[in-house]
């Protein structure tokens, strides 16, 4: 797929950039499937909005959210399903199961950085293809709101990038389970369900009971989407917003470090098994 670039000592920025670009372009190969996906996501968005609006019927404001915020939350989460792979991701797992990972190792790149670049391109492509139209539709049909002022946009954008980084590192870690077990798909199914609940995809985390929020605060899952939603809506502002992003950054670094470590252990194991 990618051009055969010469191996260099330092990180090869040009190579990863072209990998990301290809990952981006590949998303536009099936426009018809994307259109149907958009319609499906929109329909589920309508159902989710109905539940939230009905919940808000007797209270104007819950945990800092108005009903309009809840609608924006729904639009944003529906828009990010594909970009952030909230329903799961098994691409790397597949290359391990099929043994293709062995030939990937021959190439002059860092495996984790290669997949990160590819997924960044994929995520950007999905966001452009499905996320932006979804947000536009929600804004048009239900008056979903956008971040307030340049500050809001800056924080939301940075937080979205960090959410992708946390989410990717987590997904990659889950995929690494394939080095140890042929059961990684079942393990993944479990992990994606936890991701859906913990990242605030199913419901805004602020609506959950305090004890459950306290438990989740110790996990990286809120950093994978809920934080971005709260910054977008302006539920968190000022120093609180920057703290939330620092937490995201911390989790992103920790998860990437963990992914690199687990990957190296997994690859060593792969060599022992003889590929």
């Amino acid at each position: 797929m990618q051009a055969a670039l010469p191996s260099t000592r330092g990180p090869n920025v040009a190579l990863y950039a072209s990998v990301a670009r290809l990952g981006f372009r590949r998303q536009f190969a099936y426009p018809q499937a994307a259109l149907w996906g958009l319609i499906t996501n929109l329909f589920f968005g309508v159902l989710r909005i109905a539940v939230l609006v009905a919940l808000f019927a007797s209270t104007p404001r819950v945990a800092g959210y108005t009903v309009q915020d809840a609608i924006t939350y729904t639009g944003l989460t529906q828009a990010l399903i594909m970009a952030l792979s909230l329903f799961g991701w098994t691409d790397f797992m597949r290359t391990i199961h099929r043994g293709e990972v062995a030939s990937d190792l021959l190439r002059p790149h860092n495996l984790l950085a290669f997949w990160a670049a590819q997924d960044a391109g994929r995520a950007a492509g999905q966001f452009a293809l499905r996320g932006l139209p979804m947000l536009a539709l929600f804004a048009l049909l239900w008056g979903a709101t956008f971040p307030a002022g340049p500050d809001g946009w800056l924080l939301s954008t940075l937080s979205l990038l960090l959410a992708w980084a946390c989410g990717f590192a987590f997904r990659f870690l889950v995929n690494c389970a394939a080095f140890w077990s042929p059961d990684a798909v079942g393990f993944g199914r479990f992990a994606w369900a936890v991701l859906g609940l913990g990242s605030g995809f199913l419901m805004p985390l602020a609506f959950f009971p305090p004890w459950f929020q306290a438990v989740l605060a110790w996990t990286p899952f809120p950093s994978m989407m809920n934080t971005t939603v709260e910054l977008w809506l302006g539920v968190r502002t000022g120093p609180e917003a920057w703290t939330a992003m620092a937490v995201q950054l911390g989790w992103a670094m920790l998860l990437f470090g963990l992914a690199a470590f687990v990957l190296s252990r997994g690859l060593r194991r792969l060599e022992i098994a003889g590929g």
Binding site: A33, L47, A50, D183, A193, G196, L197, L202, F212
Partner: protein, 288 residues
């Protein structure tokens, strides 16, 4: 494929019964073979079984956890919603176990890989083979989960329990199994022409399941009327549950409407299989 072996007129009835028993045995033989192969890797199977139940569990748990903040869902208590949610989930999982082979992703794979042609060649009814082609045993955990949610709904909703109510809800589940099974058959049949529209069917199948998991009065006039009169999903579980809870039906519909589920479902399924026959004929006609 539908005709039993040629028998004299007076023995035809007996022959039909014998062939039905034969086909049923064949079906369970297919299921057992798949169940056995899936149970070979025990850890894998256990993980898969727990994982697939956990998807539903987390979805319902999210709703359960946030409901206390709001009090009720448009006047419906948790127990009452659990009744709707449990019914829909139970029916959908049972349907998935039975009709999984017709689900568009599965069938389109058979069509694309050419293994559908082998189905046509085998000396067993085509539909029976498709019915027995995707028996995902891991879904049994979801049956228990759905039954648990439903049991909670039955005890906590404060409904008055009569044989009539039990009959109504049993009919509701059977109707839903047939209805969603019909949607799977239609989705699978569409793959004989195109694979692009597969995701559109998800709106009706998985979307329909989500739609009827909550009281339909939350959806607003347009959506509720569409899924009552155009796509008769409201008859499947919403109306029976309304009746069991002692609530009036919307639009001044007569009580009779609450017991139509066992009729609506099979009508959909029959229409779906009529479409299936057209699809199979078309498939054969292309000569692939």
């Amino acid at each position: 494929m539908d005709k039993p072996s040629v028998t004299p007129q007076h023995r035809q009835k007996e022959g039909r019964l014998a062939s039905a028993i034969h086909h049923l045995r064949l079906y369970f033989l297919l299921l057992r073979a798949q169940a056995r192969s899936q149970a070979v890797y025990r850890v894998s199977f256990a993980l898969d079984a727990v994982g697939s139940a956990f998807i539903t569990l987390s979805e319902f748990a999210a709703f359960v956890l946030v409901l206390p903040r709001f009090g009720s869902l448009s006047g419906w208590t948790l127990g009452e919603v659990a009744l709707l949610y449990g019914l829909a989930e139970l029916a959908f999982v049972l349907m998935d176990l039975m009709f999984g082979g017709f689900d568009a992703p599965n069938l389109s794979q058979h069509v694309r890989s050419g293994s559908f042609n082998t189905f046509l060649l085998r000396p067993a009814p085509l539909r029976l083979q498709i019915f027995g082609s995707d028996f995902a045993l891991r879904r049994v955990t979801r049956i228990f989960l759905a039954a648990g949610i439903l049991a909670y709904g039955i005890t906590a909703s404060g409904a008055v329990w009569t044989p009539e109510a039990a009959l109504l809800l049993t009919g509701s589940v059977l109707g839903m199994v047939a209805f969603f099974g019909g949607l799977f058959v239609i989705g699978g049949t569409l793959t004989f022409w195109t694979v692009d529209s597969v995701e559109a069917m998800n709106v009706l199948t998985y979307g329909g399941r989500t739609l009827i998991s909550y009281p339909m009065d939350i959806y607003g006039q347009f959506l509720r009327k569409t899924f009552t009169y155009l796509i008769p999903a409201a008859f499947l579980s919403y109306f029976p549950v309304l009746h069991v809870l002692g609530r009036p039906l919307p639009d001044g519909l007569p009580l009779l409407a609450a017991s139509l589920s066992p009729l609506v479902g099979p009508v959909m399924l029959a229409a779906a299989f009529a479409f299936w026959r057209v699809g199979v004929r078309h498939y054969g006609g292309t000569g692939t």
